[in-house]
């Protein structure tokens, strides 16, 4: 474990921000104030943060329909994100994208993606770019267990191996793709094994353990930065809510989430570890909690008050030149 105290606090702040962002959305969505349908990242925070803590603004990530966590971990403005999810004029994407289409190019965040498997091919292109730039930058491609069955994803992995691209394929196995279990839909029930079959190093970690994710991701990014080609990281995890907000979750045992909230909570795990080891105090962590709660309150309040986009905006941003 090589993290300094400030980095530990950053990691915690990011994870906590994601958690509270999502927990608050869970509440707000139930009021009907938020358009569309929304997929919460609660429970998976250690993965986004453990991976993205290794990245600078000019490293790239691509994300999924469940993208809020990746955005926050990569440094997107939380208030701009919330406004985007509310469909406001000054949301990160002017209210045109919504929850499933948040991007922030200044932060190397190339977009959430509402097409399962849409991101990984794009990640290979970003990696081709940084390889040509010769700047040692890397790209992380986030995807779920379900996405690992999409042909586009396999093509991207093979292309990355062929071109020795600096791409890390992160698979967050939260047990389900919508209403279907991973053990059913992934034929081998072994995502990393399948990735290894493509000729890349593929590792598995406990996605509820920030330190496990962080350390392994660091090791794999080092390999990428040495120009040794792509790698894959499978993270075992769970999601604390349904597939989308409103999902009755009939495919889950009644007590499954409650149990997982006890046993697989990365924030709890993190707090225990850092206090046990004496790296941080409860007071320091509590202070972060307070700060985060205020930020989220502010984000929601500002979003509620923010004006919607002008309808003339429907017609703009289709082309650069018309």
């Amino acid at each position: 474990m090589t993290l300094q105290k400030t980095e530990l606090l950053t990691a915690y702040r990011l994870m906590k921000t994601i958690r509270e962002f999502e927990e608050r959305l869970h509440v707000e969505i139930a009021t009907g104030a938020i358009p569309g349908f929304t997929h919460l990242y609660s429970g998976q925070e250690a993965i986004a943060v453990g991976v993205c803590m290794h990245l600078a603004d000019d490293d790239y990530i691509v994300s999924t329909h469940r993208g809020h966590g990746h955005c926050i971990a990569k440094g997107c403005d939380v208030i701009g994100m919330m406004k985007e999810i509310y469909g406001r004029a000054d949301g990160l994407c002017k209210g045109k994208g919504g929850s499933m289409h948040i991007a922030d190019f200044d932060k190397g965040m190339l977009g959430a993606n509402a097409i399962v498997g849409g991101g990984p091919p794009i990640a290979t292109g970003a990696a081709i770019a940084t390889k040509l730039d010769g700047n040692g930058k890397v790209t992380a491609s986030f995807g779920g267990d379900g996405s690992s069955n999409q042909g586009t994803v396999f093509e991207a992995m093979n292309l990355a191996v062929v071109l020795k691209l600096p791409t890390l394929f992160v698979y967050e196995d939260n047990g389900y793709g919508e209403h279907t279990g991973t053990s059913y839909a992934v034929g081998s029930d072994d995502i990393a094994g399948r990735c290894a079959g493509f000729g890349m190093r593929a590792e598995k970690v406990d996605g509820a353990d920030f330190f496990a994710v962080y350390d392994m991701a660091g090791d794999l990014f080092d390999q990428l930065r040495r120009g040794e080609g792509p790698a894959a990281l499978e993270c075992a995890i769970t999601r604390f809510y349904g597939h989308y907000e409103g999902d009755p979750q009939k495919y889950r045992a009644k007590d499954e989430v409650a149990t997982f909230r006890e046993t697989m909570d990365c924030l709890r795990n993190f707090r225990k570890r850092v206090t046990d080891e004496g790296w941080l105090t409860d007071a320091e962590l509590d202070a972060v909690d307070t700060e985060v709660m205020a930020l989220i309150d502010d984000a929601v309040e500002q979003s509620k008050a923010a004006p919607p986009p002008d309808v003339s905006e429907v017609l703009t941003d289709v082309y650069v030149t018309y």
């Binding site: 499933m100 047990g175 209403h179 495919y251």
Partner: protein, 335 residues
């Protein structure tokens, strides 16, 4: 006649037809749901509930949950159809033709022709379609213009529960591939649905309303919007024929031309983007085959040439509205 929702009509049709014909199978993501989970079996029944209860009634052999692999889903439908079955594959959203299009347009659509008429491929691909739920640019498209352009595919686009039943039954008893579009906003809508066997032939438009001053052609959810527009226009004494083609391939151009003989004025309403849409297509066909009947410029009421925006205010402005339709009718009647 029984009052049913669009969703119920589709669901009951699948139940009835699967009971009738053991060669019908259903496949797709979460058409049952729950496989590999810790909860109940058939945890979903399709994310819009259209395949609800099928798994319980017909079992895992005929109601097949798949991985998120749309090319494999549509391709499996293709192969099963060649091998004598009648697969009904579901794409969760029509927008996902992007990851399965080859199997649809190069394979299923072309088999019979390429193979000299020596086979048939009665695969049905169901696709929830359309905007209106703030689902964003990748979950709200109409798609049917693209598949309408493809020879070998038939394209059904019901606008109400009765047609949903009648068209799906016809699709399931026919021998050609059918792309079946279900507008998401229509699922909860109710109407009288004929009981028992009920078939709506392909290529026969419905004359939804009769009127005097214009001919309005509309598809899917836009039929309902057109009715609202006509309700509003009635106050000013403006009436129009309202025609729902119901299938765009084959297209019943004759019914449109017949109406134009009386009205001479054509408004076409299509939730699609304007270019190479069904709206511009029908307008073009009429300009070619019914030119003499036209007394005024054809009015195309479509979405703009933009992706579907997210925010409520923007999406509402994107989707053609009853007001847009009424304005177009007024314009052409005043011409």
């Amino acid at each position: 006649m029984t009052v049913k929702t669009f969703r119920e009509a589709l669901n009951e049709t699948l139940h009835a037809e699967m009971a009738r014909d053991s060669k019908i199978i259903v496949l797709g993501e979460d058409v049952a749901g729950g496989a590999g989970g810790t909860g109940v079996e058939e945890a979903a029944g399709g994310i819009f509930g259209v395949s609800s209860g099928l798994f319980k009634a017909f079992g895992a052999e005929r109601v097949i949950d798949t991985p998120i692999s749309e090319s494999a889903i549509v391709g499996a439908a293709a192969g099963a159809a060649l091998a004598g079955y009648r697969p009904v594959a579901e794409l969760m959203f029509a927008d996902f033709i992007g990851v399965s299009m080859d199997q649809l347009y190069n394979q299923i659509a072309k088999f019979r022709y390429m193979f000299g008429g020596k086979t048939q491929c009665p695969a049905i691909i169901r696709m929830p379609t359309g905007a209106g739920m703030n689902m964003g640019a990748q979950h709200s498209q109409t798609i049917y213009p693209i598949v309408t352009s493809v020879p070998g595919l038939k394209v059904a686009i019901p606008s109400n529960a009765a047609d949903a039943k009648g068209l799906l039954t016809t699709a399931l008893r026919g021998d050609d591939p059918v792309v079946f579009f279900e507008h998401k906003a229509l699922y909860p809508r109710k109407c009288d649905v004929p009981d028992g066997d009920y078939l709506v032939p392909f290529g026969e438009a419905a004359l939804v309303r009769e009127g005097e001053h214009a001919t309005v052609v509309a598809l899917a959810r836009m039929v309902n919007f057109a009715e609202k527009a006509l309700d509003a226009l009635a106050a000013d004494g403006i009436t129009a024929d309202l025609i729902d083609p119901r299938t765009t391939s084959p297209l019943d151009l004759d019914t449109i031309l017949e109406s134009l003989e009386a009205t001479g004025r054509l408004i076409i309403v299509d939730e699609s983007n304007p270019r190479c849409s069904v709206a511009s297509d029908i307008a073009g066909l009429v300009a070619s085959e019914g030119f003499d009947l036209l007394k005024a410029p054809v009015q195309l009421v479509t979405a703009p040439h933009t992706p579907v925006p997210f925010a409520r205010e923007l999406e509402r402005a994107y989707v053609p509205s009853p007001d847009d339709i009424a304005a177009a009718v007024r314009k052409v009647v005043a011409y």
